[in-house]
Symmetry: C2
Subunit: 540 residues, 2 copies
Amino acid sequence: MAATTDWQQLIADKRSDREFKIHKEWRLPASLLSTISQNSNISVLDVPRKSGILTERELELTEVYDATELVKMMLQSEVTSYELTLAFCKRAAIAQQLVNCLSEIFFDDALNRARECDEFLKLNGKGMGPLHGLPISLKDSFNVKGVHTTIGYVSFLSHPPAAHNSALVEILFQQGAVLYCKTNLPQTMMSADSDNNVFGRTLNPNKLSLTAGGSTGGEAALLKMRGSVLGVATDIAGSIRIPALCNGIIGFKPTAGRIPFAGKTPPGRLGSPSSIVPVIGPEGHSIRDMELFMKTVIDSEPWNFDEGAIAVPWRTIAPIARRLKFAIIEKDPKFPLHPPIQRAMHHAMDALAKAGHHMTVLDDMMIYDSAVLAWKFFLLDPKKTPVGFINASGEPWVPSIETCTFPELADWKPTLDDLFDMNVQRRRIMKRYHDLMVRFEFDAILMPAYQATAVPHDTYGVPIYTVLANLLDYPAACLPFSKANKDQDKNSVMDDVTYVPPYVADAVEGMPCAIQLMGKPMKDEELLQIMEVVQKVLET
Amino acid sequence: MAATTDWQQLIADKRSDREFKIHKEWRLPASLLSTISQNSNISVLDVPRKSGILTERELELTEVYDATELVKMMLQSEVTSYELTLAFCKRAAIAQQLVNCLSEIFFDDALNRARECDEFLKLNGKGMGPLHGLPISLKDSFNVKGVHTTIGYVSFLSHPPAAHNSALVEILFQQGAVLYCKTNLPQTMMSADSDNNVFGRTLNPNKLSLTAGGSTGGEAALLKMRGSVLGVATDIAGSIRIPALCNGIIGFKPTAGRIPFAGKTPPGRLGSPSSIVPVIGPEGHSIRDMELFMKTVIDSEPWNFDEGAIAVPWRTIAPIARRLKFAIIEKDPKFPLHPPIQRAMHHAMDALAKAGHHMTVLDDMMIYDSAVLAWKFFLLDPKKTPVGFINASGEPWVPSIETCTFPELADWKPTLDDLFDMNVQRRRIMKRYHDLMVRFEFDAILMPAYQATAVPHDTYGVPIYTVLANLLDYPAACLPFSKANKDQDKNSVMDDVTYVPPYVADAVEGMPCAIQLMGKPMKDEELLQIMEVVQKVLET
């Protein structure tokens, strides 16, 4: 009991600290806040516009432009970094009150930094770098000097503030970025519900009763609220793409090693021999912003900041004008597509075919088996380090954790022998995909990012459609496309399948759908151009 | 006993097959062959010239040019591939009789292939590729369709000939190469003596009583005999560089994944979770030939042949004109440098400093600890698969195997927990090297490749000076420089150290010495240019 009281007091203090960092003038009225709960099925996307907290100009700055445009505007002195940062701090504060998307808030540091950027531009007649003056938000697991990193573990509340920046944070600062907040994530970072005892649960701004996804869910919810224009996420099983799908933004997971991973706070044990490694990538509003992030970081030679980053330059390639060859993975029979997603997939396939691109449906692509294998790689630690991090404080497990595993692994105890066999099995799957990609000269694979839209809290389950790209180490992106519409979707309902999780048309009405594109390893540059082609086709 | 008789008969048959593949006219006289033994301290380097088996023209073709020049000569019709291949077949046959460097011989296939190359050139007015008509030799572990791959295991004699080419072999053929023989290696490939029960022991052509090194020892001995102009080797602890040092040729170990490894016959278990992976690289006579190999293979997009090859283009960079910054690792105190190597190192350091390059000596660089850690990665397989391959035939262990391990690992039984800790330890070493390379902007590390020249058979021991580059995954090369000279070396003899293995001046008199250069990961291109700079300085 003592331990319980302790942890509850600790989180109460932490949350009160966080609340204190939101200026009084930026607080929403109690009458509005009383309508906010994880059971409410309202959208809060229009609240910032209606709140009266942002000026017309601030609404325009946060809603109309992408990051690429905003940097250009700053360099042309059409807007200052201070003005822009203030607008995003305000809007992030509003988002926080509505969907609980922030973990750490450091608006004051950001505003000081923004002033520095403005001074720099004035003095030097040029910006600090390709991210000059740009407010960027990031997942809580990144270390920012002087800011806490708890990643939602109560036991990490006793850690001192970060003494060093993560390698990537160092690079972002060097290239001119303004960091103003970190965002919420799931306990252990291994669930698709961004819920933990320290910060609580992030809600989906499109519909509060649905999950914001995870593990980079706070980030995606903040982006959807336009409380950020560019966010930094991580992905080992879908953690960039799942929240992108759930909220309706773009998420890009690069090939492993291209963005430096060093100096983050890990949710588990260091030194894992897993063949699947976590990667960092951007979430945001435009494909060219994804490229802005990738190119800027890689042009900074991240291999000089991180011994694990791969020293390969960014290749700027021309837009693609030719017809593309797409492999299609429609579904895994164990996880049939919910009608809105099925409709989005078919619509995308039809539109691309009509635009002259080649579409080839692949069968038996081992989606489910790949996911089970991937999960084994995630469960290798005999010491079960995350369990120790939880138990150290006495905090309980959050509900979604138990939904994120496979029944066949319940009693599995990994051994070194297993690991040899797992690597052989992984290599066989890699070879199958590789040989098809080469033989048929596919440019990319089009597939769902998940069998459904965002689903009710704690029901997401295992992300079999995203973890495949992690197992293969293929770059992969989630592109928003179409919306759930029960009238149009009813023709896609299949009576002979069991939807997991259940499909309830009314519960997800209007929710964003998405498609997923997987490119070829180290061809991140090409995948971004392919995304541009696809987006253009789908927009028309 | 039955098993013993069996395996002895099997190898007798195999060796007789091999002998049969050497034309009668290419056989050396019995009187000469009677002087050949592993106890003889003679050099056989001049035998091809004296044997009368090669014409003057063939001597010139095999002795005077490097691979780059020979391809140019073929494209200009100054020599045919047939003429060149015949010359190298003859000379390889002579080498085989003297130092036992070949495992598989397929001269007839090679001569047919050479005729095809000549026809192609005549018909098309251009070559097949950058390796047009060039005879290339390779280590036995590569699979060449229709040729056996035993890698020296008696139990593998029952395997059928290879049904498929290794990924690299496929590329070499596509680019115009002529393959004519495979070369000898150690039992299990984990020793520095290229000795196994199937093919016997390869001797060092500079001095038969000394080791040819391993594991790519047959290749390096063949190259030193100029029975090959360009050879393909592999390296997980020094197997490219050790034989390069022992014989006095150039060996280049690239960053892992740049040359495709798929489709080779492994000496152990597939699926190892080791963080150290084997790599393929060239051995030969000129630095530009190393680049010819690297560029040709990588320009062929090896990632389309092997799901494990990294999709990163070759960068052709300009020769380096500026002053370079070298970090120096002089020695590990446990393995003091033999006088000839100490002299070579100091001579190289002095010459480079005199030429204006910056030299910084690094201390406590964890050479020995890194090697012990690396060995743990090599010993991860709980099934001890190589032991099974040996026991399957009843063949005995060759003597050198027991010298190639660390006493502290005698009773070590690896666990998954160990592997996590090993990865953390490896990362710590990587970070130390990385941070020094970045902070001081070093271009390369200059260090010994081994504490000695080639040593008497079965005394080489553990290769602590080469395995470091494998642990770090830094590209590394061995450049021949200086020769043992007891008069000059006597000033370098230290009375207060124990040389391991012992230093016997007379036994190694005249033997080639070498230096090792380690570059930065994925900067293989830069390392080749740095080698050019160093070679130019050392030649003057």
